[in-house]
Subunit: 340 residues, 2 copies
DNA sequence: CTGAAAGCGCTAACAG
DNA sequence: CTGTTAGCGCTTTCAG
């Protein structure tokens, strides 16, 4: 219970030197004689000195902090992305300020504004909804910023980003289904993640075209309302029946949570997966491997997405030129798909 | 792309007043005439002024930031706890600095030290390993700190904490099994979470005693190595067989992930749950409801744990006196347990 | 090698 | 109501 926090001045007084000398000694400046340097360091240790990072930041104009905005921490997808971010950040001496947007532009902007006031060195935004119109609102992004899987259609030129190739992922999923002999393939999507849903749907449709397979409107079900990813399960549960009624023998789901919901619905309806119906998810969250049957899915390397984004930000902070990255997802074949 | 960030001095110059006036006007001081106040605010807006939080913090000695240490963000349990923390923090104008400890005391202390340097207003630590010996190392905790489900046996008097009642939870789990007619009940635990594992094991044993049921050494399996919670699944998978071999008809698992592993092992061994073997988990993570059969478990109100801990910290920051909290878990009966 | 002085951007006495 | 002056705790010229 030390009453007042001690400063370099306190140490200086006790050591009979100037606070400048203490400052230098503590940071191993070559300007200080080894002898006094050690003395001062020892004294600082004894006195329980802890440098004031705020004062340092004010002076150096660096906070060694980055801000991260995700839609929700409880979302297993983003949890892992953040884990990847944190790993790289910490190994570079940066701390992470975390905020949530709940897929809401206002909250997203509020979070970024807050980061801006706190003078974070850089910002990472996942699933961003920001578009060119908002651009000016958010302090013209003087702070280096990297977007992860941005949902913005018309991204300003200046944006840095890393994203998964949604289109490719969808193709892999549907091609897998086609290769198993399925000819009536449905798509179960979500309306609140405009860009990625659109790209996945396009991938789906393209593969059907290429394979000369029928494209029926009723084979596509999009849940329009806004959801948190957790309730994606509910989306899957509610939307699956109509797809089954429309006669599909397989369904490509927007993501794993939707697929889980679809699977739950199947159990309830007495439809066995994969015998009666094949299901493919997207994301590759751990959960998918634990359910019965284990879920065939398109895996996004979540940890890597986080790491790559953070690394990109690090490069930006060192004024390196960076190139936007598009990572490739890949198929994980498990038990929820079978030959027709 | 504004080159240099503008300060209140810049505004003052342009407005022909002193920077003090600007400072006051911006913060709605009643000392400023309404007229100039509005003028200044307008000017600030036009100039795109964003107050420098660092400078404010240095002056006011408050950072409006709290530090949170969890073992892993990708752990669904902590992810939800953090979500709860963030909710309350944000609604109180506080930002969250997040760090991970990976169940490692050194990393935990490093994280806390870092928070200390950054002069966070308060600290939240989940699953802490810190004991009295470390107490002095971490800057004698001059910063208000609340521990969540601390794993420390001999907690210093001065610690503030919120924890789940592990002992009660274990009792509920085993009593449930007993009430279903089970007489040979096993416990599958983990060795790297000393306190909570110990309490759950005690609860288990007490109920067996009270019910005059046999207590066989081989019915208790504890995985000693350190794990991340994710690999708790592996623990369950590896340890279950020996319990089955020892002849149990039901198993109380340390947590849901362990139970998931146990379930996976059962599938592999051709043991059907719950017909041949009943399984009870602990935590109540979402995943448990999606697997087959859905997991009977002891639920910890994770979101609430986070909220309560954060609220306690808030109270501490306002110098209110707080009482340590012990929250009660409860049984969620689902499909993994059945009458013997 | 060391110290004096300035200043990072803001808030808060203390005068007028 | 407004301005002057310190000062939060540190780093960084600039002189010795």
């Amino acid at each position: 219970m030390s009453k007042r926090k001690i400063s370099i001045e306190d140490i200086a007084r006790k050591a009979g030197v100037s606070h400048t000398t203490v400052s230098r000694a503590l940071r191993d400046s070559p300007l200080i004689s080894p002898k006094v340097r050690e003395e001062i360091k020892q004294l600082a240790r004894e006195m329980g000195y802890v440098p004031n990072g705020i004062a340092q930041s004010l002076q150096t104009q660096k906070t060694n902090t980055i801000g991260v905005v995700v839609t929700s921490i409880a979302d297993p997808f983003f949890a892992e992305v953040v884990e990847g971010i944190e790993q790289i950040a910490r190994s570079s001496g940066l701390s992470v300020l975390l905020s949530t947007s709940h897929r809401n532009v206002e909250q997203e902007i509020a979070a970024i504004d807050n980061f801006y006031r706190r003078r974070v060195d850089g910002i990472l935004v996942a699933d961003s909804r920001i578009n060119t119109n908002h651009t000016q609102q958010i302090g013209q992004i003087a702070t280096p910023t990297v977007f992860i899987n941005s949902q913005t259609a018309n991204q300003p030129e200046s944006f840095h980003s890393v994203r998964i190739d949604d289109y490719l992922g969808a193709r892999l999923a549907v091609q897998h289904l086609v290769s198993l002999g399925h000819t009536s393939i449905g798509y179960l999507g979500v309306g609140d993640r405009s860009l990625s849903n659109q790209l996945r749907q396009e991938g789906y449709q393209t593969v059907l075209s290429e394979a000369n397979l029928p494209q029926i409107d009723d084979w596509i079900a999009i849940r329009e309302e806004d959801n948190t990813r957790t309730s994606d399960v509910v989306t899957g549960q509610q939307m699956l029946p109509q797809l089954v009624k429309a006669g599909v023998t397989s369904v490509f789901c927007y993501n794993d949570m939707v697929a889980v919901g679809a699977l739950l619905a199947c159990k309830k309806l007495g439809i066995s997966v994969p015998q009666d119906l094949s299901l493919v998810g997207f994301d590759g969250i751990a959960l998918g491997g634990y359910i019965t049957p284990p879920l065939t899915t398109i895996r996004q390397p979540m940890l890597e997405i986080g790491r790559v984004a953070m690394q990109m930000l690090l490069d930006l902070l060192q004024d390196k030129t960076v190139e936007n990255r598009v990572l490739s997802p890949y198929l994980i074949e498990r038990g929820s798909t079978a030959r027709k």
